[in-house]
C-alpha cells in the first residue's frame, strides 16, 4: 500500500514535470512556427541584400541586418573584456566582504533594470553629454552596459567552478597570481563564460529600447562607414514597420520576414559561440 502510494507520487511528479517541459516546447514551437509560416514568403535574396524602397513598403532589410550585426558585435566587444575583468576582480582578487557583497548586489540590480532606462542613459550620457551623437558607438556601448551584468554573473560562476586545487597547484609552483588566473583559471572557465555570453548576445541583438535613442535610424539606405554613423537595426525596423509606418497592414509580411531574419541571426550567432565552446570543452576536461 505504502509502496504503491510512493509509486503513484513518483509518477505524479514525473507526469507534472513532463507536462511542463511539453508546455514549453509547444509554446516555443508555436512561436517559431507562426513566425516561419508568416515570414518565409517575404524572405528571399533581394530581401536580404537590398535596402528598403517606396517608404519602406517594399525592398529589403540589408542595412538593418548589417546594423544589428555591428551593434551586437560592438556590444560583445565592449561587454566581454569589461565583464571578464570585473569578474576576475570580484572572484580572484577582492577580499570577500561587505563592499564586494554590495557591488554584487549592484550588478544584480543592473541586470533587472528595464532596457529603456539603459536607452535613456545612453541618450543622456553618450549621445548628448559626450557628444557621440546617435551612432554605432553609442548603441554598442549602451547594449554593452545592458548585457554587462549577465556576462559578469556568468563569468563569476564559471571561475568559481574552476577547482581551487588548480589554483593551488599553480601557485605552489611559484607562479604568480595573475599568471595563474590567465593560464589556468580563465582558460578553464572560458566555456562557462561563453555560455553566459550567448544569453547576452541574444539579448543585445533583440533589444529595441536601448538603441532607439542611441543608434538606430528610422531609415537610411546608406551603409555605415564608421562607428560614428547611424545605422538601421532589425528590432527597431520591426518596431517602426509595425507601429509607426503609414501602411502597417500592407507591410505585415515584411515585418514577419524581418522577425524571421532576426531570430535566425541570433540563432546563428549563438551557434558560433556553441561551436567554440564545445571545441574548448573537448580540450579542457577535469
Amino acid at each position: 500500500m505504502n509502496l504503491k502510494w510512493r509509486y503513484l507520487k513518483q509518477n505524479l511528479f514525473l507526469g507534472t514535470a513532463t507536462m511542463c517541459v511539453l508546455a514549453i516546447m509547444v509554446s516555443l514551437g508555436g512561436i517559431l512556427f507562426y513566425i516561419v509560416e508568416n515570414g518565409y514568403q517575404a524572405v528571399n535574396w533581394e530581401f536580404l541584400s537590398s535596402p528598403p524602397r517606396d517608404s519602406m513598403t517594399k525592398g529589403g532589410i540589408f542595412p538593418a541586418i548589417l546594423g544589428t550585426l555591428y551593434l551586437t558585435m560592438g556590444a560583445i566587444l565592449v561587454a566581454l573584456p569589461l565583464g571578464i575583468a570585473s569578474a576576475v576582480y570580484l572572484t580572484e582578487y577582492a577580499r570577500q566582504g561587505k563592499l564586494i557583497r554590495a557591488i554584487r548586489l549592484g550588478v544584480n540590480c543592473l541586470a533587472g533594470i528595464p532596457s529603456v532606462v539603459f536607452g535613456l542613459f545612453g541618450l543622456g550620457f553618450l549621445v548628448v553629454f559626450l557628444q557621440f551623437g546617435s551612432c554605432i558607438l553609442s548603441g554598442a556601448l549602451t547594449l554593452g552596459f545592458l548585457i554587462l551584468p549577465t556576462i559578469i554573473g556568468a563569468s563569476e560562476e564559471a571561475m568559481k567552478a574552476v577547482p581551487q586545487t588548480f589554483r593551488e597547484a599553480s601557485l605552489a609552483l611559484g607562479v604568480s597570481k595573475w599568471r595563474t588566473i590567465s593560464r589556468i583559471v580563465l582558460p578553464n572557465a572560458m566555456p562557462g563564460i561563453l555560455t553566459g555570453s550567448i544569453l547576452g548576445i541574444g539579448r543585445a541583438a533583440g533589444e529595441t529600447a536601448p538603441i532607439m535613442f542611441t543608434a538606430a535610424a528610422f531609415f537610411t539606405a546608406k551603409l555605415p562607414s564608421s562607428i560614428f554613423d547611424e545605422v538601421m537595426a532589425l528590432p527597431y525596423h520591426i518596431y517602426v514597420l509595425a507601429t509607426a509606418g503609414t501602411r502597417i497592414e500592407e507591410t505585415r509580411p515584411l515585418q514577419f520576414g524581418t522577425v524571421l531574419v532576426l531570430v535566425a541571426l541570433v540563432l546563428g550567432i549563438d551557434l558560433i559561440a556553441i561551436v567554440i565552446r564545445s571545441r574548448m570543452r573537448k580540450r579542457k576536461r577535469w
Binding site: F166, E168, A169, S170, L171, G174, K284, R285, W286
Partner: protein, 253 residues
C-alpha cells in the same frame, strides 16, 4: 646537526582570524632528510606545512607571528616575494591535482613561465623530472595525452614530477598518499626514499606506519603544539612524552 638545517621555524604562532592554530612552534628541518609531521586531525600539522611555502597566505585573515628562516632569510619578511619562496619550496597535495593539460604541458607549465623556452631544454626537463618521479617508463609514449587519463597513483607521481621540474630545494607533501591505493602508496614511498638524495622532504601523514617507513625525523603535534620532535626511531620505540606514546599506540586520536 644544527648547521645542516635548511628551514628553521622560530617561535611561530599562527592564527586563522581569531582562532590560534599553532602555538609557539620552534623546530628545524634538516637538509636531505625526510621529516614526517604526525598528529590527530586538526592538530595543526598541515597548517605548519603550508606556512613553510606561504600557501596559507591565500586564506583571508590568516596571520603569523614569529619567523620562518629559509637559507638565512625570514620568508615572512616584508621584502620577500612569496612567489619566489614557492618556486624554491615545492608542494604536493593530498589529492592529485594535475592540470587538464597533456602530461608534457603539466611538467613544463612552471618552467616555461620562469623562462625555459628552448624545446630541447623542455624535453630534457620533462624526461629528467618524470624519471626522478619514476613515471617515465609508464608515460614516455603518451606524453601528449591528457594527464586526466592517468590513474590516481600516476597522477600523484606526475604532480611530484611537476614540482621537481622547478628544481626546488624542499618538497612539501601534504598527505600525498591518502587518496591512493596501497600499491600506488608503496610506489610513492619508494620514490620519497630516492628523492631524499637530492631534496629535503617534509611530509604530513595520517598513516603512522608511513611516517615510520619513510622518515628520519618525526614531529608529533597535538592541539596546535609541537609535543615532541625526535628521530623517527626514538618516536616510535621510546618516545620522551607520554602523549606521543598514547597517540602512536592508538590510545587516542
Amino acid at each position: 646537526m644544527k648547521n645542516n638545517s635548511i628551514i628553521d621555524v622560530v617561535d611561530v604562532d599562527f592564527y586563522y582570524g581569531t582562532f590560534q592554530a599553532l602555538t609557539d612552534i620552534t623546530m628545524n628541518f634538516e637538509k636531505n632528510e625526510v621529516t614526517a609531521l604526525i598528529g590527530p586531525s586538526g592538530c595543526g600539522k598541515s597548517t605548519l606545512l603550508r606556512l613553510l611555502n606561504r600557501m596559507n597566505d591565500l586564506i583571508d585573515g590568516s596571520r603569523l607571528v614569529g619567523q620562518v628562516i629559509f637559507e638565512d632569510r625570514n620568508i615572512y619578511a616584508a621584502d620577500v616575494d612569496p612567489v619566489e619562496v614557492r618556486r624554491r619550496i615545492g608542494m604536493v597535495f593530498q589529492k592529485p591535482n594535475p592540470f587538464p593539460k597533456s602530461i608534457f604541458d603539466n611538467i613544463t607549465y612552471g618552467p616555461k613561465l620562469h623562462g625555459v623556452r628552448k624545446k630541447r631544454d623542455l624535453e630534457d626537463l620533462v624526461e629528467a623530472s618524470l624519471r626522478q618521479a619514476v613515471l617515465w617508463e609508464e608515460v614516455k609514449d603518451i606524453l601528449n595525452r591528457s594527464a586526466m587519463t592517468l590513474s590516481g597513483g600516476q597522477q600523484q607521481r606526475l604532480c611530484i614530477a611537476r614540482a621537481l621540474a622547478m628544481k626546488p630545494d624542499v618538497v612539501l607533501m601534504d598527505e600525498p598518499t591518502s587518496a591512493l591505493d596501497p600499491i600506488s602508496t608503496a610506489k610513492i614511498e619508494e620514490l620519497i626514499d630516492e628523492l631524499k638524495e637530492n631534496y629535503t622532504i617534509i611530509i604530513v601523514t595520517h598513516n603512522m606506519q608511513q611516517a615510520a617507513r619513510v622518515s628520519g625525523k618525526t614531529g608529533f603535534f597535538y592541539l596546535g603544539r609541537l609535543i615532541e620532535f625526535n628521530s623517527t626511531e626514538k618516536i616510535f620505540t621510546n618516545p620522551d612524552e607520554k602523549q606521543t606514546e598514547d597517540y602512536i599506540t592508538g590510545r587516542f586520536g
